[in-house]
Subunit: 499 residues, 2 copies
Amino acid sequence: MYAFGSRGNTGPNFNLLLLIISQLGLHTVEGVWPLPQALASSAERYSLNPQAFDFAYGKRSAAQQGCSVLDAAFKRYFTLIFQDYTSANDVLQLSEDKPFTVEVSVDHDDCESYPKEDSSEKYNMRVSAGQALLNAETVWGAVRGLETFSQLVYQDDSGSYFVNKTEIDDFPRFQFRGILLDTSRHYLPVQAILKTLDAMAYSKFNVLHWHIVDDPSFPYQSYTFPDLSSKGAFHPVTHIYTQSEVRRVISFARLWGIRVLPEFDSPGHTKSWGKGQSNLLTPCYRGGTPSGGDEVDFSCWRSNPTVRSFMQKMRFGVDFTKLQAFYMENIVNITSALNKTSVVWQDVFDYHKRRSSLSVVEVWREGCYLCEVRKVTKAGLRVILASPWYLDQAGPKHNWARYYSVWPLAFKGSEEQKKLVIGGEVCMWGEYVDATNLAPRLWPRASAAAERLWSDEKQTSSVAKAFPRLQDFRCMLLRRGIQAEPLTIGHCQHEYLGV
Amino acid sequence: MYAFGSRGNTGPNFNLLLLIISQLGLHTVEGVWPLPQALASSAERYSLNPQAFDFAYGKRSAAQQGCSVLDAAFKRYFTLIFQDYTSANDVLQLSEDKPFTVEVSVDHDDCESYPKEDSSEKYNMRVSAGQALLNAETVWGAVRGLETFSQLVYQDDSGSYFVNKTEIDDFPRFQFRGILLDTSRHYLPVQAILKTLDAMAYSKFNVLHWHIVDDPSFPYQSYTFPDLSSKGAFHPVTHIYTQSEVRRVISFARLWGIRVLPEFDSPGHTKSWGKGQSNLLTPCYRGGTPSGGDEVDFSCWRSNPTVRSFMQKMRFGVDFTKLQAFYMENIVNITSALNKTSVVWQDVFDYHKRRSSLSVVEVWREGCYLCEVRKVTKAGLRVILASPWYLDQAGPKHNWARYYSVWPLAFKGSEEQKKLVIGGEVCMWGEYVDATNLAPRLWPRASAAAERLWSDEKQTSSVAKAFPRLQDFRCMLLRRGIQAEPLTIGHCQHEYLGV
């Protein structure tokens, strides 16, 4: 660790530097998205030559060569940084450039593990002549730092690569920064999911909330209950996720430091489950005979004689929320027994009496969502905020600025309560979204949410200041092959060509 | 030409047939989009084997082998029809299938010409055992018929190809069926334009309205005034259309029977022109000195002493609309001298006093657009309707049904007036659209407009009936590699994989 000014101190100096830099017309570190917590850079710059550029492990690093996460990250970021570079260039290059090494050191050898709820993503970096020193507690922090480094590198008009003298001290504001993908309303090919994971890493998201099944289809292939997908998926072969595909998504996400949070929503949203599993859904009755249905529709439960007699036995009276809470508590207990944390949608919190059995509540309803956040945190439960980030919606009112101007902690509450807000999530529900429009609908609008969730709020409260930075970031996404839609009139040096 | 029942007669029989067919669970010709004017099909079907399938010219056809338009169409449609077929399949195929020939005959040898304002696109087709006879007045009509034929072919579960016995008599309701692409607010790579032309042909659009330059950039490369693009484009090399690229777009469009209607909008929307051409724009004055600006802003014209003295000389008084009309009349005269028809935006019609000098007016404003259509046609001018088809807008209210439920002739007016409505146009303005989101924003919503412009209104007035047909058509677009977004929850056999 190297000495670094406090965040309060770096502000003014940094502004001065920026002023100088912009007068010289030079590249600035402002380009990093989401904005690091603290950074300082100068106009001093170092040329990078792909042939004399290397990633290396620090001598004291707990992780060394063979570390799957970092070995893979080194390869990826070499390609991402030197997009123009092919070995064919070798002949033309003069090798008089000085070598440059990015030296990565981590405190823990968590190379073969999976990122966890509380994994540190903190890192610091000092870029100076000939080297960048990147330090992190975990490999996940190092991956975040490598992303930042890749965004510091730029090309001049002749195509030469440069990086400015820079110091960065960075960590996420919120621990949980997720994107929900819905693969039930439309099937997303695995390639589309992997590509989304790439783009997520570029914005430092760390959770893929995989809403894998729902009413319309059950694409998850189970070994134990194969009929669930063979009868419940849109197509039993082409529109399912095999076990090996699911494993592939999880492994791929791991290398980017992204957790995969699977969701098998119940007891509602289970219409497709019934196709492959008879007697699973509650039959509703009309005039004494079953009439179908499966949503959490209390009138359905009321119509079912078996449900009614169970209610009686449990002494629930006619309060069906008690039955639903009973069900949910069983599910949460099963999850706990597997040493996993359950996340429940806010509805469960709202009807649940014994709230202490819950742990994390995802707030999703429109309206005064901060009222709900306040209520949930007051009950001592953790919150994931989704309401302001339903990005499946399109149209002029749903532009990036709307998703940027969100203040998750702007509710009356104690410090303890605020700490219980563990993060937020972009929801991309699938009613009108599949692989044809997923990427332009997500990017760069989701990146606006990403900065809100990662960066210091005071430094990133201005839409006007963020705008040119997000435009640059969007151009970088195009350069990396992400089909990110435009924010306004204009152009990028490298337009999207993948048609 | 073969005998064919009138449209009035085929209706009921056809409905009966459909009933029978849907009971048998067989493929129906309902799948053709936009719906042909008259069609009848039966459950009798013929198997098609790619190895024993051929396109041929009828003996009496005015066009024969070597006809560039049809030779190219035959090649394309073979690939589009037999998407699965590769020569590698040859080994496995049994060649016991009967041969099938699509025999195309046209009245005129217009093979090397360009489609014109009044080119016929009429065709008829009879599909029977071993052959399909396709007749048209022009090669453009034949191309439309080939599209229809390609949509009649389907595969069964084992992958075999079939076509049902079918008779079709078809022609467009409106002559002008356009899509406007805006390449100034964002540059669209040529590939994106060509891909759009492909998709346009699938929906039987016949005009590409190329809004090539505007305020933000001037990508058109002129030999005479090279500075216009070298100084006015976003980038002088990567963000321009060279002469050869423009020619490529026009030739490519021609092969699909699509006209390219270029637009160099003026006198407003010309900010980018001024960058490469000094003294072209009217300088506005503030306190006696020029202050920039270029829009048709009368306060700007009023501020300019040169403009004021010209007004005096022309005896226009202080009525600047007279000046604008004078300008427009000059432009229209230049166009006429080149033997071309001018299209003006409705504003010009609104301020123009001598309306007889105008010929085609494009109605684009929101509100009571049919009032404007009525007014323009009453003045004896032709109309292109764009108002209801501004597809650059997104969001739940701007779904396909909105663009389908448009009745261009539902205004009070004489038969003569109605005939003056020559068609309509989908406008894809570029503020928020570039190659990253062009395709999903156009398709399949533009196809809804396409059916309104091609098909009989009475047969296509129901959104509910159109819905499943458009869903099928959208799946076909995916199969052909067009990134058409979903209409609702569901799936296609072949999802979009191009990520």
